[in-house]
């Protein structure tokens, strides 16, 4: 067994994840390297979900009965946990959504309907980057089409990093909002937040950070980031599907208009007009994903107990090892940074002219689950002139042995199509 400095005790951790014992395709042990798409869930989270439904299930906020009080306490308790996890100044700044995509659309829509000084309209500009996930592109394209605002973006350098050389031309006095990804889900790149935030603050633009690939893997401190909004998603960080988070600065949440209307988000309703509850409820129309929020709270507990810094260290060691081993494979080209510095544990690559679909299929046959395609970041593929990539992504339960399995698997792919 390969021994790397900084690794977690994966033997113990893997026992928490029932699915990792799965055997696929006639006896192959599952090697799950598709963590950037979604993570697996520890028993601790599944137990909490089950307990919620078996003991306390009720609708929240409006009940005087015991189950409703328990459910409300669990749901609002999850908000406390998430707030602590991201070091939010106030629990009321944590909005539960269904996924990161809803969180990002929520911001785009708030800004489209906002009054001055936040309003995005035809005289203003929106800035994103060429390495965004589609969920941080399309909402801004829609906003731009619907308001007439101009959409601009930062391009990429050859080695998979943001090209900030013309930052003063990209972010200007007209810029109302700058939205960018903290860790790219295709390149693995960790972006330089400070430089972008400083320039945005200089021109008075709001900053939105897509932390979907950061929250699962590193300590997230919304105060240190100095952003105005931070979005992420539960299913990638050991939580259930169906739950996302939008953190926003309190005064913005107070000033900005609601997005979805309905139960829970109101103060008082008459047929003629309605007033809205204070944030976060203003932005949580309808029965929220109660069990899923509670499950996310359990996931946050789980990750915190292991320690986000320890997880980062583990993944860094693994990435260093994986990059090295992958670069030994003939014809393999990493799309993105080719060292482990300032990058996460997500590695995209091409293998000669073998199409990623074929790479993925042959790996799957060996029990190795990777993702292939454009990873909802097609502009990156266009930028590097490739149709798609194969992507291996690691998490706290991933091991050097799984890296070895991947490398062997790729040899097999090469032979198969050789």
């Amino acid at each position: 067994m390969t021994q790397l400095p900084g690794l977690l005790d994966t033997e113990a951790i893997r026992k928490d994840f029932p699915i990792l014992d799965r055997v696929v395709h006639d006896g192959k042990k599952l090697v799950y390297l598709d963590n950037a798409a979604t993570s697996q869930k520890p028993r601790q989270v599944l137990d909490v979900l089950n307990d919620y439904y078996e003991r306390s299930n009720a609708n929240v906020h409006r009940g005087v009965h015991m189950l409703a009080e328990e459910a409300t306490e669990l749901y609002e308790g999850a908000r406390d946990k998430v707030a602590a996890f991201i070091n939010a100044p106030s629990r009321d700044e944590v909005i539960f959504t269904k996924n990161a995509s809803e969180s990002l659309n929520l911001v785009a829509n708030m800004l489209g309907w906002a009054d001055e000084p936040y309003r995005v309209d035809q005289d203003t500009e929106i800035v994103i980057t060429e390495m965004e996930h589609h969920s941080n592109i399309v909402p801004w394209q829609l906003l731009s089409q619907r308001t007439g605002a101009k959409l601009k973006w930062f391009g990429l350098t050859e080695d998979g990093r943001l090209d900030l050389s013309e930052i003063e031309q990209v972010i200007t006095e007209k810029t109302k909002v700058v939205s960018f990804v903290l860790v790219s889900n295709i390149l693995g790149t960790v972006n330089p937040v400070e430089a972008i935030v400083r320039r945005a603050q200089d021109v008075g633009a709001l900053v939105v950070i897509d932390a979907s690939q950061a929250a699962p893997h590193m300590l997230l401190d919304v105060q240190a980031l100095q952003a105005d909004f931070v979005a992420f998603t539960g299913h990638k960080m050991c939580g259930p599907t169906g739950i996302g988070v939008l953190w926003g600065r309190q005064e913005l949440l107070e000033d900005l208009p609601p997005f979805l209307g309905g139960g829970e988000m109101i103060e008082t309703v008459s047929m003629h007009s309605s007033t809205y509850a204070p944030a976060p409820h203003k932005f949580e129309a309808g029965t929220p994903p109660i069990a899923q929020a509670v499950g996310l709270g359990a996931a946050v507990d789980y990750l915190t107990a292991i320690g986000m810094d320890n997880i980062t260290r583990h993944e860094h060691a693994l990435t260093h090892y994986a990059v090295g081993r992958l670069l030994e494979v003939p014809d393999l080209r990493i799309i993105g940074p080719t060292t482990a510095e300032e990058r996460g544990a997500t590695i995209s690559f091409t293998l000669g002219d073998i199409h990623p679909h074929d790479v993925g299929q042959v790996l799957d046959e060996q029990g190795i689950a990777v993702r292939v395609g454009h990873h909802c970041a097609r502009p990156v593929c266009l930028r590097y002139g490739i149709p798609a990539t194969t992507r291996a992504s690691f998490y706290l339960y991933s091991t050097p042995a799984e890296v070895d399995a991947l490398v062997e698997g790729l040899e097999h792919v090469r032979n198969f199509f050789g």
Binding site: H61, T72, E73, P278
Partner: protein, 154 residues
């Protein structure tokens, strides 16, 4: 029976025979709503320098929210602002204690009848009922003193 800890006789008495109910002249008026249950209160404060001359109110709601407004009237009218604030803070502290604050003699001296709400603090859904009039009073007082631009909060 555990319920009795919430529905103390003092509370039921205030509910059935509320003190100072009705709207009279004031320096500021606020309207507060508890969006989770629809309880509403309109409350006015009249100050004479640092002294609370009157707190008048009108509203609809459960026994807890109604009794709490009545107790507030009884407790605060005639008090100096500083003293009233101390009472309000003590009450807030008690209500947010989740049933864990042990009311002692000192607290009882400050809160008088309002100490009867200790049991309510065990029922999260009802804490907001008990606090409705107190939050309204705080808001109205700030307005009367010209500290805020007015408007309602929940």
């Amino acid at each position: 029976m555990k319920l009795d800890s919430m529905y103390q006789d003092v509370i039921l008495d205030h509910y059935k025979n509320p003190h100072g109910r009705g709207l009279r002249d004031g320096d500021a008026e606020v309207h507060h709503v508890n969006p989770t249950c629809g309880d509403e209160i309109t409350l006015r404060v009249r100050l004479d320098g640092d002294t609370i001359e009157d707190v008048s109110y009108e509203g609809q709601g459960c026994s807890i929210s109604q009794a709490s407004a009545s107790v507030l009237n009884e407790l605060l009218v005639g008090k100096e602002l500083a003293e009233a604030r101390r009472i309000q803070e003590t009450f807030l502290h008690l209500m947010q204690s989740k049933g864990k604050a042990e009311p002692d003699d000192a607290m009882e001296e400050v809160l008088e009848d309002a100490i009867a709400f200790a049991g309510v603090s065990k029922y999260p859904a009802r804490v907001k009922c008990a606090l409705l009039s107190w939050m309204a009073w705080k808001d109205a007082t700030a307005q009367a003193l010209g500290e805020t631009a007015g408007g309602k909060t929940a």
